[in-house]
Amino acid sequence: MIETDILIIGAGPTGLFAVFEAGLLKLKCHLIDGLPQPGGQLTELYPKKPIFDIPGYPSVGAAELIDNLMEQIKQFEPGFTLNEVAETIDKLEDGTFIVTTNKGTKHHAKAVAIAGGLGSFEPRKPVIDNIAFYEDKGVEYFVKNPELFRDKKIVIAGGGDSALDWSIFLADVASSVTLVHRRNEFRGALDSVEKVQELKKQGKVNLITPAEVIEVHGENHVNALTLQIGDEKQQIETDYFIPLFGLTPKLGPIANWGLEIEKNAIKVNNALDYQTNIPGIYAIGDVNIYPGKLKLILCGFHEATLMCQSVYNLINPGKKYVLKYTTVSGIDGFDGTRKEAEKAVVKSID
């Protein structure tokens, strides 16, 4: 069981900055995220895009901002449960919470802060009538274990980096790799496109463009697909179909936690501390809604700060906390480090 003061669900910019603000209050944080790396939509959707409205940064790349936030919170030693989705929550009699992920990892926390942004990212599934039936029976939306495909026939669909990268990787693993894309041009790194072209020349990747997978066939496991190639339909045999069309955010299991939801977001008390209708559960950043809400990263930072102050009071009832400034009091990291402004002490003036 992972123990922490604040369990933060979502490792986007708001969740990450909450670790810093909690650290100043000596509160330990642990983060859960469905993605394999921190950063949320910044690293998943637009890592190379510049952001212009972060105070103090005339311009900062989305991935760079995440790198900086990770550096900023390092001293507070946050824990991470990545690649797992927070699935259930149980409130114990003492007011603390147990949050369990889809993989069974349990977390015990004094407070929970949902910083889920747009929600958990789920694969975008192609519009094929019976595709749900074949999920885990030959239709795979992620390549979790490449060995699954060893010496198998696979068809990958998509035109982005994931489709290109996995076609390249699996060319040496699978018995055959077919890459299907709706157009002739690919939206990926030039290097990857060139590698796929080379593999096509070598006969290691079978490229079918412009084309689309429109039907999946098989008894209890995929054994063939129907492709639409121009006006023609063509059936090809395969053991696996891997559609890689990116991710789309959904609120996910937290929608079933008994929280008040409005417009796909979690209602909070914005006049006070961004607490939800369940005491001890907060929602900060893009995932919350309240009158006047603005979905901006800088607003998420502000909400994270107020949330941490509230959790401090929740965990330490009656204990007086005076707001401190890092310029004055410095930062005491949990790792034993201390950062403070240099002080020039003049003992006497002649």
Partner: protein
């Protein structure tokens, strides 16, 4: 003239003729969000960077639109429910030239 008329058919099939300002550097996706013609979280997920196709719409009349950028074309090549007249709402900027535009929101995927 700062406002033009644009008609948007929402995902329920309901038609809305709305006033669209031409002096706010807005696009059709933002217009749809401003008038709340699609639930929050179902449109403009990537913020308008042609990276998610959640604002895909079908252009139903012959109002001339600017040509697609490579980004828009690439996104639509990966999106679902794509038709010949598909465009991304976030890439259609509101200018006086698109007065009378009629679009229908593509289904949410």
């Amino acid at each position: 003239m700062n406002d033009i008329k644009i008609t948007i058919i929402d995902r329920e099939g309901v038609s809305h003729e709305v006033d669209a300002p031409t002096d706010m550097n807005m696009n059709v996706m933002e217009l749809i969000r401003a008038y709340e013609l699609a639930p929050e979280g179902t449109i403009g997920i990537c913020g308008g960077m042609a990276m998610c196709a959640s604002c895909q719409c079908y252009v139903l009349n012959d109002v001339e639109l600017p040509e697609m950028s490579d980004d828009e074309e690439a996104m639509l090549s990966e999106a679902f429910n794509v038709k010949e007249n598909s465009r991304l709402g976030c890439q259609i900027h509101i200018t006086p030239e698109i007065e009378g535009l009629l679009v229908e929101l593509a289904p949410e995927n």
